[in-house]
Amino acid sequence: MQFMLLFSRQGKLRLQKWYVPLSDKERKKISRDLVQTILARKPKMCSFLEWRDLKIVYKRYASLYFCCAVEDQDNELITLEIIHRYVELLDKYFGSVCELDIIFNFEKAYFILDEFLLGGEAQETSKKNVLKAIEQADLLQEKTIFHLQSVLEKNVICP
């Protein structure tokens, strides 16, 4: 995988992870282009996109778009499932996750991603193991991060 982007329906970037060395300028250009292209697509359209020499796989979960760039010979469907597994992990960790969880706790989302994908490859596909690793690290952490769910109504993500 070359990179992963999360962005909202308004085109705001929520998470970005780059697995190939690119300059800041290139990163910005790529995310701008891609966000525009994907937002312009209709819901019934194919989840795959040929973009430059890459294959873009994206999926919308509620108001968030998850988008991965893979090489042409990679399997698009399994990439789609990688996205889904990541959403499952987030969901399990945050307890029915919503966009706000990711906005306010984006570093957590990164930690989970790092346990799941490493250097652009699936590292651990067992849901239990990923969460176990995160919890172990979290145990040391004080509970300073406030979870919004007590304040706000949850927006359940529908896959």
Partner: protein, 1119 residues
């Protein structure tokens, strides 16, 4: 849903500022990130956001550099800095602090520090060096979490040069008791391997250990390395094939812990990784491939179609099966899988299906034939991605016959595509096709692709034009055509053409406009001179234009035009242009010199290039003698300049008085050295070096050029003409009825005409893909004018008939049955000798002449009308024949004959003669509106051995056939006991939803001749076999007495009709041999005696001689 989020977001600030709840108070007071996010959501304009973030960044900057900031505060600051960067604002001042945080913070702060580093920096960033020590320290830590963090950051980014420093530590981790550490270490090594492969060479055996790790996670991680290693050198890892196969077997068999299941599929990521590795190992290697056949079959079987993840596995399986050495059973299953993908209503699967088809189509072009209608639908798909993939597929199946249609489709796409990358790619492909199959579409390519295309495309086009083809006359026509079309382009609106196209145009006009008799050079000159006046014409193009004019200036008017041009451009700021103008001026004055410098038709004359410029030696020595400074290469000059530190106060010497124009004309340089020198024409200096090797290979390429350009436009016109002729069903008087029947039409989306249109498109697209077998397709490939006329007549008479006898229309087959009925009727017509379609081959006629068939009453009712209706074209036959199993679709099949039908099913059959067997194919068409369930087909025969080959029911005996779709059962049949006609009995049982089980029986007779194959042997072999055989029969047959050699004629008739092999004819005796599949020989000895043919047959098989004799008799009687 997202509206809710938006609302919540806008409500957020007020909610949080209420401060009534303890929770929110905590958030607003402690979480500065919360404040920041809240602040941003309150803003309305981008400008305000910018201001706010800048303020925020300044405050972060102040705090991070303050010595009083604790690490814990630092962590919080980093999170905010990351957030600002994500919004697109630079926070580079914080990078160094991120590294500091990772270095000095407690375990918890460290985590954020490492995260910030991995987000801020990329592996080429110099600050990363500062991280090496921290990583080293953490790798040696006793705290597992710290080790994990270090490994995580290492496998994401690490300076290449520093790998040796940490490599031993990472290696050690491969033996760590915790699997999570081992796993991360393996991935770190994988990363090292990617960026610096030779640094990890010595630990390859440790990879093996990781592969054998007891933890599946570590093993999975090691596969990343192996995939990479095998990609680079598959030979080195063949010995691991068996291990990979065993692992895959265990995974597929569900031996892994449940944790690894994903939606109840065992470790799909692992499966896919293994399949990829296997496909690399099995490629071009029969023995390795054989090891994996079984597990592939198992994978295919286990992956039931129900979830995306199984589709992903199936897709990878299919790819693997088509990559390794082929095995027919697997290929069949894979082909079926691809079919399911392509036909799937889910758009993602359809896309993958097309992609898979594209992948396999070179090996198996017939598969594309099977799905041609779907492919055509995909061509018009609203999603451009699907369209694009379809074009990719078409690109792969392009051949001389369908190239024009495919290129047209590609150009259509180009017209709507806005994406530069796609345009470049597609233009390249079109140009590639255009070179392979040259034609006029190049013009369109140039005007659409414009300046985006690679510069070598116009170059090679010009090269093609100048080198020409095999015949001079053709070349002349081609060039003349180019000249004419370009002149008319220039006359209309040259300002819209892209620069590159203008360059091509001017070159062609300069070189070849003399070919056109009625075209005055002056006219061309004037046209070209207009280009010079255009505002957007680049100076590169201008010099091409001037060059062309130089070639053209001949005759009074032209010279005066040249004079004008010279006057305007001789003072141009551009030296190249000035030079060209000079050349133009000189050469227009001196036609003799021009003839020498720019000889006509010199395109292919090799130019001698004096690259040492020896002809200037005299000039140089003269200049040196006159006191000029010797030449110094640029780098030397620069060095000297650098050494001379003081300013040079001397005035620059005057430049040498060289007449630039005259010397460069002498070697006839091209106006744009760069592009021309890549070998495009007579101007090319490269050409002589490259010699013959650069010439394009055009053998076997169909000529699509004609005097009027290529004929692409004409073909589609014919097609539309056919489509527009109103079919009798739709004649005005019957419109209402037609409409009412329309509503019941089984194909809900497409009207018959549309369908026909598509089929016509199909026939033009998929032409030349299979062998002669796919008759209907092939037949249409080149509609000769004569054929077309005949069709038109057929149409006319049929519509006339329908007007006269409107009642007869009432008994036309109801549209519900259309699909099948048409094919039934067609087959019936074909079996009548008078109505032989040109496509049907001779042998098919004889072999199927006496098929037993039950005909639907529709056909008996009204044969004449149907004859008129359906004879001219028979696209419907396609429908069933396109369902033929993959491995048969390339072979010629007999007509599809109806077996039986009732209100819900239609059964029909055809057979395909293979060399070693006869393949019987039964089509089950569900004509009802609901699905057939629990369908079971039993086929049996006393005389035949029936082997079930492949069908939808392979996996389970219970099968479902969707409404209006076709299921295919395929049997391989060999003869157990010969008889004149062998009969196959069958029974289909099925159930409609909510109905009782039903059965329908049928019988199908196959003449013995379908099983007869020629047996090639020599006279000696014949002799020894003859003596060994026990069963024999003698009889006298009629001799065909029509010319001087009755024996030869008679035997030839037998040979043709029964597929016998004539071994030898000596005088009045002839010996003939054949065999019944498989390997049951029958020999025949013939002698002309008293006006009859005395035949003596011998075979080891009882009854065979008698049966064969019967068929010989019939064949001769029929003659």
């Amino acid at each position: 849903m997202s509206d809710v989020v938006e609302k919540t977001l806008t409500a957020l600030p007020s909610l949080l500022s209420l401060d009534s709840q303890p929770g929110s108070a905590k958030l607003s007071s402690t979480s500065k990130l919360g404040n920041l996010i809240r602040g941003i959501t309150e803003l309305t304009s981008k400008h305000e956001e910018e201001k706010l973030i800048q303020r925020e960044l300044t405050s972060i900057k102040d705090q991070v550099s303050s010595p009083n900031t604790s690490m814990r505060q630092m962590k919080e600051l980093m999170v905010r800095a990351i957030y600002c960067e994500m919004l697109g604002y630079e926070a580079s001042f914080s990078y160094i602090h991120a590294i500091k945080l990772a270095q000095q913070g407690s375990v918890l702060d460290k985590r954020v520090g490492y995260l910030a580093v991995s987000l801020f920096l990329n592996e080429s960033h110099e600050l990363l060096l500062l991280l090496v020590n921290t990583v080293l320290k953490d790798l040696q830590s006793t705290n597992l979490i710290e080790v994990c963090m270090a490994l995580t950051v290492v496998s994401q980014m690490f300076p290449k040069d520093m790998i040796p420093a940490i490599l031993p530590l990472v290696e050690d981790k491969l033996n760590h008791p915790k699997e999570i550490i081992r796993r991360k270490a393996v991935l770190a090594l994988y990363k090292f391997y990617l960026i610096a492969p030779n640094q990890v060479q010595h630990i390859h055996n440790k990879f093996r250990k990781a592969l054998c790790d007891k933890d599946p996670g570590v093993m999975t991680a090691s596969l990343h390395i192996y995939l990479q290693l095998i990609k680079e050198n598959s030979e080195g890892y063949k010995d691991l094939t068996a291990s990979f196969v065993t692992i895959l077997k265990q995974v597929v068999g569900g031996k892994l812990p449940m944790d690894f299941n994903y939606h109840s599929v065992p470790a799909p990521w692992l499966q896919i990784q293994l399949l990829r590795i296997l496909s690399l190992l099995g490629k071009n290697d029969q023995s390795t491939s054989e090891i994996m056949y079984e597990v592939l079959d198992e994978s295919l079987r286990r992956a039931e179609m129900n979830h995306n993840i199984t589709y992903a596995i199936l897709y990878e399986c299919v790819k693997c099966i088509y990559t390794i050495q082929p095995k027919s059973e697997l290929l069949e299953k894979a082909a079926k899988c691809i079919g399911n993908f392509v036909l799937s209503p889910k758009i993602n699967l359809k896309y993958l299906g097309l992609k898979a088809l594209t992948y396999v189509v070179q090996q198996d072009p017939k598969l594309a034939l099977q799905h041609q209608m779907t492919i055509i639908e995909c061509l018009d798909h609203p999603d451009l991605i699907i369209k694009r993939e379809t074009l990719e597929l078409l690109f792969r199946i392009t051949n001389g016959q369908n190239v024009t249609v495919i290129v047209e489709k590609m150009l259509d796409f180009l017209r709507i595509s806005k994406d530069d990358y796609t345009t470049i790619d597609l233009v390249g492909k079109v140009a590639e096709l255009a070179e392979k199959y040259p034609f006029e579409t190049m013009n369109t390519v140039f005007s659409l692709g414009g300046d985006m295309m690679q510069p070598d495309i116009p170059n090679s086009f010009l090269k093609l034009l100048s080198e020409g083809f095999d015949s001079d006359e053709e070349d002349r026509k081609l060039r003349l055509f180019a000249v004419d079309s370009y002149v008319s382009l220039l006359q209309s609106e040259p300002n819209k053409l892209p620069q590159r196209f203008l360059q091509v145009i001017s070159w062609v006009l300069g070189e070849y406009s003399h070919l056109s008799a009625e075209l005055e050079p002056a006219t061309v000159m004037t046209l070209l001179s207009k280009l010079l006046d255009l505002k957007h014409t680049s100076s590169e193009t201008k010099s091409w234009v001037l060059m062309a004019m130089t070639k053209l200036c001949e005759g009074g008017v032209a010279i005066s035009v040249a004079q004008d041009i010279y006057e305007t451009h001789s003072s141009s700021m551009d030296t190249v242009l000035r030079q060209r103008a000079q050349e133009l001026q000189h050469l227009s004055q001196d036609s003799e010199l021009r003839g020498r410098v720019l000889p006509r038709d010199a395109g292919l004359m090799p130019l001698e290039v004096d690259s040492s410029l020896s002809f200037l030696d005299g000039f140089v020595s003269e200049a040196l003698a006159a006191g000029a400074a010797p030449y110094k290469p640029p780098h030397q000059r620069q060095e000297e300049l650098a050494q001379a530190k003081a300013l040079s106060l001397e005035p620059y010497s005057l430049s040498l008085p060289i007449s630039m124009s005259s010397c460069s004309i002498a070697d006839r340089q091209s106006p744009t050295l760069m592009s021309m020198s890549s070998g495009l024409s007579g101007d090319s200096t490269d050409l002589s070096h490259k010699g013959g090797s650069t010439t394009l290979k055009l053998d076997g390429v169909k000529r699509v050029w004609g005097r009027e350009g290529y004929l692409a436009q004409r073909e589609p016109v014919e097609e539309t003409a056919q489509v527009e002729v109103p079919s009798p069903l739709r004649s005005p008087s019957q419109q209402a009825e037609a409409d009412s029947t329309q509503s019941q039409t089984p194909t809900p989306t497409v009207t018959p005409e549309l369908e026909q249109d598509k089929q016509q498109l199909a026939s033009s697209l998929f032409v030349g893909l299979g062998s002669q077998s796919s008759v209907c397709l092939m037949g249409k490939s080149d509609p000769t004018p004569q054929r077309f006329r005949r069709k038109a007549q057929g149409r006319a008479s049929s519509s006339g008939a329908s007007e006269k006898t409107p009642t007869s229309l009432g008994s036309t087959p109801s549209p519900v049955d259309n699909l099948l009925c048409n094919s039934l009727l067609d087959s019936n017509l074909v079996s009548e000798p008078t109505n032989q379609t040109p496509q049907a081959s001779q042998s098919l006629d004889t072999t199927n002449g006496n098929c037993h068939e039950e005909l639907t009453d529709v056909k008996e009712n009204n044969p004449s009308l149907i004859h008129n209706n359906e004879e001219p074209d028979k696209p419907k036959d396609l429908c069933l024949s396109s369902h033929l199993p993959t491995e048969l679709s390339g072979l010629s099949h007999s007509e599809i004959t109806p077996l039986c039908s009732n209100q819900s099913v239609n059964l029909s059959a055809c057979h395909v003669q293979k060399e070693d067997s006869l393949q019987l194919v039964i089509f089950i068409f569900n004509s009802s509106d609901s699905a057939l369930q629990q369908m079971q087909l039993q086929v049996d025969s006393g005389e035949l051995k029936v082997n079930y080959c492949l069908s939808l029911i392979t996996d389970s005996p219970v099968e479902e056939v969707r409404s209006h779709s076709v299921a295919v059962c395929h049997y391989s049949v060999t003869v157990k006991r010969p008889s004149v006609h062998v009969e196959v009995l069958g029974m289909l049982s099925y159930q409609l939803p909510g109905g009782t089980p039903q059965t329908i029986q049928f019988s199908h007779k196959l003449p013995l001749t379908t099983f007869i194959r020629p047996l090639t042997l020599s006279t000696e072999e014949y002799g020894s076999m003859w003596l060994a055989f026990s069963q024999d029969t003698k009889q006298n047959l009629t001799l065909i007495n029509d010319d001087q050699d009755p024996l030869t004629t008679t035997l030839n008739v037998l040979k043709k009709k029964l597929q016998l092999h004539v071994v030898e004819i000596i005088g009045v005796e002839g010996i003939v041999a054949c065999q019944l599949v498989q390997d049951q020989p029958c020999l025949m000895h013939c002698r002309v005696h008293a006006g009859t043919l005395a035949v003596w047959l011998r075979s080891p098989v009882p009854d065979l001689p008698d049966c064969l004799l019967y068929h010989c008799q019939r064949a001769l009687q029929e003659h």
